[in-house]
C-alpha cells in the first residue's frame, strides 16, 4: 500500500500548512482523505461536507491550487506526484482549517435578487412551461448550480472588486430572468447591472473552466450584459423597491 503526502491548511486567515501521511487506496476521493485525517490522525481538523455525492455543494476546497468539489474528485486525478495540498476556498474569509465563511457568497445571491418571486397562489392551476421554448432552454442551461462556491473562489474579478456579485449569483439571476413565471425581472436587472454586477465580468472564464457541474456562468453573465444594456438604452434600468 503506497502513501499519499498531504499538506492541509491549519488556522484561520493566518496559519500554515500541516503535513500528514495517508494510506493510498483505490478509488479514493479527496474528501475520503480529509475524512481519514480527521477520524484517524487529528480530530481537531475542521472541514465541511454533507451529501458526499455531488449534490449539496458544501465540500468545495482548494485542491492543489484549484477550487474543486472534493467528494467527486478522485485523488488519482489530482495528486499525480503523490502530493495533495488542501486549503479553504479562496476569495472568502477563513473560519478555521478547510472551512470558509460562505456568508458573502450567499449575501450576494440575495443582492442579485436570486429568489424566485411568483404571482400564482395555491388556488391557481400549474404554470405550464414548454421545454422547447427559448427561455426554458436558457434557464435549463444554468439551473443545475449547487451553490458550491467553486466559481466564486476562482473568479479574479471577485478578488479585485469585493462588491462584485460573482458568477454564481449572476448565473442564478439569469435563470430567474428566463423563468416566465417570475415577476421580479425589472428589479433584478437593475440589481445585477453595472460595475459591481455583470458588466465587471472580463470573460476570463475561470468560473466556466472550474464549474464542477460543467455550467458556463460566463454565458449567463453575457446574457445579463445584453439584457441590462438594452434596458439602460431604453431608460428602463430603474432601481425599484
Amino acid at each position: 500500500m503506497s502513501t499519499l503526502h498531504v499538506r492541509i491548511w491549519r488556522g484561520g486567515e493566518e496559519g500554515s500548512f500541516q503535513a500528514f501521511d495517508v494510506p493510498r487506496l483505490e478509488s479514493q476521493t479527496v474528501l475520503d482523505v480529509v475524512t481519514y485525517i480527521q477520524r484517524s490522525l487529528d480530530p481537531t481538523l475542521s472541514y465541511r461536507f454533507a451529501c458526499r455525492v455531488g449534490m449539496c455543494g458544501s465540500c468545495a476546497m482548494t485542491v492543489n491550487g484549484r477550487a474543486r468539489w472534493t467528494c467527486r474528485t478522485h485523488v488519482a486525478k489530482v495528486a499525480t506526484g503523490g502530493l495533495l495540498e488542501l486549503a479553504p476556498l479562496a476569495n472568502l474569509p477563513v473560519i478555521k482549517d478547510l472551512v470558509a465563511d460562505m456568508t458573502p457568497f450567499f449575501d450576494k445571491w440575495a443582492r442579485a435578487r436570486g429568489r424566485f418571486q411568483g404571482t400564482r397562489t395555491r388556488k391557481d392551476d400549474f404554470a405550464r412551461v414548454s421545454p422547447d421554448t427559448e427561455q426554458r432552454r436558457l434557464a435549463d442551461a444554468g439551473i443545475e448550480c449547487i451553490g458550491c462556491g467553486v466559481c466564486y473562489s476562482s473568479c479574479d474579478v471577485v478578488a479585485w472588486n469585493p462588491d462584485y456579485l460573482g458568477p454564481a449569483a449572476l448565473n442564478r439571476a439569469w435563470t430567474l430572468l428566463n423563468d416566465v413565471r417570475d415577476a421580479d425581472g425589472r428589479a433584478r436587472l437593475a440589481a445585477v447591472a453595472g460595475d459591481a454586477g455583470c458588466h465587471a465580468c472580463h470573460t476570463h472564464m475561470n468560473c466556466t473552466e472550474r464549474c464542477p457541474k460543467g455550467l458556463a456562468p460566463t454565458a449567463s453573465i453575457a446574457g445579463l450584459k445584453r439584457a441590462t444594456a438594452l434596458a439602460a438604452l431604453r431608460g428602463e434600468l430603474a432601481v425599484t423597491e
Binding site: E13, R66, H204, M205, E209, A219, R226
Partner: protein, 116 residues
Amino acid sequence: MRSDFRARNHPAYWAFIMHRISGVGLAAFLPVHFWALGQALQGEAALDAFLRWSEQPLVKLSEIVLVLLLSAHMAGGARLLALEFLAWRDWEKSLLAAAAGVSIAAALGFALNLFF
C-alpha cells in the same frame, strides 16, 4: 485567502493577460503616435526626420511588437464581442485559436514586409 497561478493556468486566462497588456500598451503608445504624425504640421521634412530616426533596429523591433499588440487586441477583442453578443456553447476555444492565429499572422506579415 488568494489563489495563485495554478488557478489561472488555462487558455482563456492567457488571452485575458494578453488583452490587458496590449490594451495598456497601446493606450500608452497612442499619444506618441499622434505626436509623431502631428510633426507633419511643420512640413514634410519634419515628418521625414522622425521617420529617419525610426529606422534604427531597436525602433523597428518595437514597431513589430506594437503591430502584434494591435492585432492581438483586435482579434482578442473580436473574440470577446462574439462571446458577449452571440449565443455560444462549445466553440469558444476555436475562437481563441483563431484570434491567436490572426494576430500572429498580421505581425508576421508586417515584419516580413518591413525587412524584405
